[in-house]
Amino acid sequence: MNNSPYFLKPASVQSVMLRVLVALLPGIAAYVWFFGAAVLVQIALASVTALAAEAVMLRLRDKPVMLFLSDGSALVTAWLIALTFPPIVPWWLTVIGVLTAIVVAKHLYGGLGQNPFNPAMVGFALMIVAYPSLMSQWPAAGFTDFVPQWNAIFGSRELDAITMATPLDALRTALHTADARATVAGVLGSNATFGNVGGKGWEWVAAGYFLGGLYLLQQRIITWHMPVAFLATLFVISGGFSFYDASRFAGPGFQLFTGGAMLAAFFIVTDPVSGCTTPRGKLIFAAGIALLTWIIRTFGAYPDGIAFAVLLMNIATPLIDMYTQPPVFGHKIKGEDS
């Protein structure tokens, strides 16, 4: 028989994870609308792989398989991987990415709750380091034909017709390598993938994620700290630099609505396990990710820096948490002891 307290608030890890999945749906809907159903194939593929890997690992580690499998955390990781990878990467890339995430980044550390790194981002970072070209083949908005996409995932890789550089990639390549006359406005103006504020289509996907994020906030699954700190920092720093030299630095609207910024703000940065937990820690953590993301996007070698930024801040998480503990009851007044 258990000790006090004898009754508990109805809450469970499972319901938390399920609501996170629900919150991803608007973004996924926009994704399918603009870029075709390939992403659904990837989600299914990632989900099956993740559940299988999770089950095998739980069994190897002598844990109750059904109980822990049903917590839904593997599914969240799988969906995030499917949503951050280009939707037309070959199937084995997704599988390896998911396996890395579940086996190495999660279970070798002891499974749910114990991993110091965000599993999905470990999968993403490893894949983009190992297969940089495959990981930067993105479909252009409007090419929603399913057959060539299916072929891209499972068969021949005749991709030229359906892929296009993302706005982030195009901008970085142009500014880094082309002649000194290239400007942000010039590059984006001449690029077919650029929409109203972010990438064509991508801005609507980002809006979908934003909607889902609001749902998570309303459900109190995440607190305001991380999304606000992340988006505000990205806004301020890109706005500041854009104001300083608009020809070399893209503006805040572009930064917030391209790449994975919106997904990161509400779904990736907010991962409770690998992120900071104290309120002040959350602000520092999310702001740090935003800053590093902007630096890597602007000056670095990889197109979208979110995965690396998240992992870098994951490294610092224990220290941030340690030094941002809120004052304990009765310890608030300083100098009382002396």
């Binding site: 258990n2 000790n3 739980l58 069994r59 002598d62 844990k63 109750p64 398989v65 109980l67």
Partner: protein, 187 residues
């Protein structure tokens, strides 16, 4: 070739001289390590480690003359702490020095005691009171359970009694919740 030897020799002489001078100039005495080791030892003063007390054992460990697994009263936990402090690998308790026993106190059977004071002399922490030809008794809270009073007693009137658990000394247990582990052997 000649220059090479010259340069290396020059280097050796200069650095050697500097180090030699520093070694003399900056000599320090004392070893704070012994204190730290002594703080970990249980202070039973039983001598089971082969040294005449906890402090001598601590000194021996610090000098590298003794292993860290010679203290039965400290048990595995004590060895772990020593290993942590000294950056050595954990070793299980050395069998020749004894085994870890539940904490006990000595009890004198007051009827058989002949008042010889031999146990009083043996007690390392002066936890036995009594005088010649008077019955002796053990001050239980001070007894470390070292068992050193057992051998000298000519009438075998001292016995070790494990300390039982009372409402005051009771400890909350580690919470264990049974969840059915995956059955691997089954089927």
């Amino acid at each position: 070739m000649f220059e090479a030897i010259l340069v290396m020799a020059l280097g050796a002489v200069v650095l050697g001289a500097a180090l030699g001078y520093a070694a003399v100039r900056f000599r320090v005495e004392g070893d704070p390590l012994v204190e730290k080791i002594d703080a970990i030892l249980p202070q039973t003063q039983c001598g089971q480690c082969g040294f005449p007390g906890c402090k001598p054992y601590a000194q021996a460990i610090a000098k590298g003359e003794a292993e860290i697994n010679q203290c039965p009263p400290g048990g595995d936990e004590g060895i772990h702490k020593l290993a942590d402090l000294l950056g050595r690998e954990f070793k299980s308790l050395s069998a020749e020095h004894g085994i870890e026993k539940p904490k006990s106190v000595a009890v004198i059977d007051e009827q058989s005691c002949i008042g010889c004071t031999l146990c009083i002399q043996a007690c390392p922490v002066d936890a036995i009171v009594g005088a010649a030809k008077q019955m002796h008794t053990i001050v239980a809270p001070l007894c470390t359970g070292c068992e050193l009073c057992l051998p000298p007693c000519p009438v075998d009137c001292i016995s070790m009694q494990p300390i039982g658990e009372s409402v005051e000394t009771w400890k909350w247990k580690y919470p264990v919740f049974k969840i059915n582990p995956a059955k691997r052997e089954a089927a």
